[in-house]
Amino acid sequence: MHGSTTDTVLKISNVTKSFGQVAALKSMRLDVRRGRVHTLLGENGAGKSTLMKILAGVHNATSGEITLDGQPYRPANPQQASALGLAIVFQELSLCNNLTVAENILATREPRSFGFINDKALVSRAKAIVADLGLPIDVTEKVGNLSIAQRQLVEIAKGLSHDAKVVILDEPTSSLSDSEAEILFDIIGRLKSRGVAVIYISHRMEEIMRLSDDITVIRDGEYVSTHDRNDVTIEALIALMVGRRMEEIYPPPSHERSTQGAPMLAVENLTRQGEFADISFAVGPGEILGFFGLVGSGRSEVMNALFGMKNADGTVRLDGKDVRFRSPAEAIARGIGFVTENRKEEGLVLGHSVEWNISMAALPDFTGPFGFTRGSAERKAAAAEVGRLAIKTHSLDTPAGALSGGNQQKIVLAKWLLTRPKVLILDEPTRGVDVGAKFEIYKIIRQLAAEGTAILLISSELPEVLGMSDRVVVMHEGVIGATLSGTDLTPETIMAHATGFQS
């Protein structure tokens, strides 16, 4: 270790955090020093956000010790965390679009006179903050009129307007252009020169190498190692980040699939302005084609276009025939299923019964003469799916919202299994699902593939993509970085293409 320990402003020792049976953090440690940028590096789900939420006072650590300036640090809530000198800028925006920049920056701390907000003082104070950070933003503008990137900068200004000793930036550049990112880097430079410690979270390797002083790698909720920026390479960091043996939770393919034969789905040069470009891939019957990419890489957008939710240019061939779907109804009728990313928003009708949710996409199959629903056939089919997928529910009439996350996800799967799809798109099929249900979902996916369904598996979890896929399409900023198979399927190559860094 370098520097004297008096430089340490935030010290995390042996911190653990469990949610019920699941351990999200195991013996985490971190030594953040004054005037330095400390990057936290790990895959999605490695435990970064849990750690940040503990620092922010959203969660309490299960055990371990945190000190700030040598004093024990245990904030009960975010307000206390910020009063103690910790500023967090989260990835998601928390601004009110109908208020001005000044009102947002100083929200809940507006200067007052006689109980009324003093607008003049408000504006001048906000101006000072913005000028201090060098932001090219008019504080009297409504936030709703700003670009997403500008809003991100306002969010940062809001976070930094407290007198912070430690500033946490969680993927702050994810929606910034290069020139806007420069402004942010400039701000970080100013903070450093003032002696503020910065904890930086990002997936962009070049950016990390440029900004960081120290880099800590974490994996599976555990501390791996800390490095001085000058002593480490990008390749080494990626290896540390993903370096693990494949866990035993991925069931092996049940058969040797021949890679020959006509593709079930072939996509050529699919393009949608501003979202993705020149997307070409093919998937055969029984094949699991993985899609990996970081947040914002355009994976979900491509799938929405395939499913008829959005227009896109290019050709799509399904089972040898050119198709162009103008609505999900057409896509479903031709044999495409889509397990969407957010089951609560796009997957389920939480207030309605398990039965209704399962039969929802296959409703035309349960419609008899004069449009009457064939109730007993529907109930029988729903009951069969509940049995087949081992969905734990009190009855078929229980509202879907009353079930656990894993069982809700199985209902979404059951819904699409009932449509007997030729191509099934799975977008983050195991997000927010416990390990047991994960394993069951993987088995179902394997079984579908064995029955000849072509599967597109989108995931942000590298082990999942590696463990399940025959081939992997890696996307980076709206284009395909590489399509990998066989011996190229290593965490290192996938991560390198996903972060846009190829050696």
Binding site: I332, T340, G347, L350, G351, H352, M360, F372, T373
Partner: protein, 320 residues
């Protein structure tokens, strides 16, 4: 034995769902019969049913709309337009059948306009139907410059005044429309799609439900139901009045909401709405028989609606 338990289970479920609202209805009837002995009579109940018919039918249409998470404020105006369209058809010398067809078609078109503006231009239905409420109300006066139009077609006027198989025709119309709406809502795929769309529009779209089409059809249903209400009202009045059906949309909304239809969408039944409409009808009739002044009636009606909905919400929260 299993037959019996199944029937019992159904009864328990019905009591859970409608118990609170049925209790309100019964309590109102008891109170009114204490205050006026003539209230509890077959003749008076026939009266109530006839009076409530116009509201009930409009409320069936409103139930569909609210079920979808939308609202239709143009219902009262469509009621007036329907009467005037009928009257003008007779003025042009059309017979009963064609006049009825044209009137119902007019209702469907007005509903379709509401639906298309809401679904395709993505305008909130509240705003769309506030606007069309004014537009349709204005259209009523165009043919006669604001004067009422007499209707002398005897078949048309018979609907509101004569009987069939011992019951007023108007009650048969309500019964038939109730059964049709209830069956379509609970037994067909269309009804299911309405429930699913109202419950979660995004999920419905991703499951291949054409939510725009559902929305337009449902606004058309509301328009057609309102037009039929307009036929009944004008037949009872022997004329088309330019201010007919004024603020009936509020009674229709109240009936649907009293009956348990959720303004958030996804929840509601025609049975509930019928009970809700009966509550409104009983209150109107009971207070009229007691010669309660109109302005007191408004106050009492508002309070009863608040209390009934509050009881219902409380019962449903307790169940969770």
């Amino acid at each position: 034995m299993t037959q019996q338990t199944a029937a019992q289970a159904a009864l328990v479920r019905a009591m859970k769902q409608y118990g609170g609202i049925l209790l309100s209805l019964v309590m109102l009837c008891v109170i009114f019969s204490f205050l006026n002995p003539r209230f509890m009579s077959v003749v008076n109940f026939m009266n109530i049913l006839q009076q409530v018919a116009v509201i009930a039918i409009a409320a069936f249409g409103m139930t569909w709309v609210i079920l979808l998470g939308e609202i239709d404020l143009s219902v009262g105006s469509i009621i007036a337009v329907a009467g005037m369209v009928g009257a003008q058809c007779f003025a042009f010398g059309l017979g009963f059948g064609p006049a009825l067809a044209v009137t119902i078609l007019a209702g469907a078109l007005m509903g379709m306009l509401n639906g298309v503006l809401t679904a395709k231009l993505l305008l909130p239905s509240f705003i769309v139907t506030v606007a069309t409420m004014g537009i349709y109300r204005g259209l009523v006066s165009l043919p006669t410059n604001g004067a009422p139009a007499m209707i002398d077609n005897s078949t048309w006027t018979a609907i509101g005044t004569e009987g069939f198989l011992g019951l007023p025709i108007i009650i048969w119309v309500v019964a038939v429309l109730f059964v049709i709406n209830q069956i379509v809502l609970s037994k067909t795929s269309f009804g299911r799609r309405a429930y699913l769309t109202g419950g979660n529009r995004e999920a419905a779209i991703y499951s291949g439900i054409k939510v725009d089409r559902i929305k337009i059809i449902i606004f058309m249903i509301s328009g057609v139901m309102a037009a039929i209400s307009g036929v009944l009202l004008s037949s009872r009045l022997f004329s088309a009045q330019t201010n007919a059906g004024m603020s009936y949309e509020l009674d229709a909304i109240a009936a649907a909401v009293l009956g348990g239809t959720s303004l958030a969408g996804g929840v509601g039944t025609m049975v509930g709405t019928l009970i809700g409409a009966l509550i409104i009808g009983v209150m109107n009739n009971g207070m009229n028989m007691l010669s309660v002044p109109y302005f007191y009636q408004l106050i009492v009606k508002g309070l009863v609606i608040l209390v009934a909905v509050w009881l219902d919400v409380r019962a449903k929260q307790a169940k969770r």
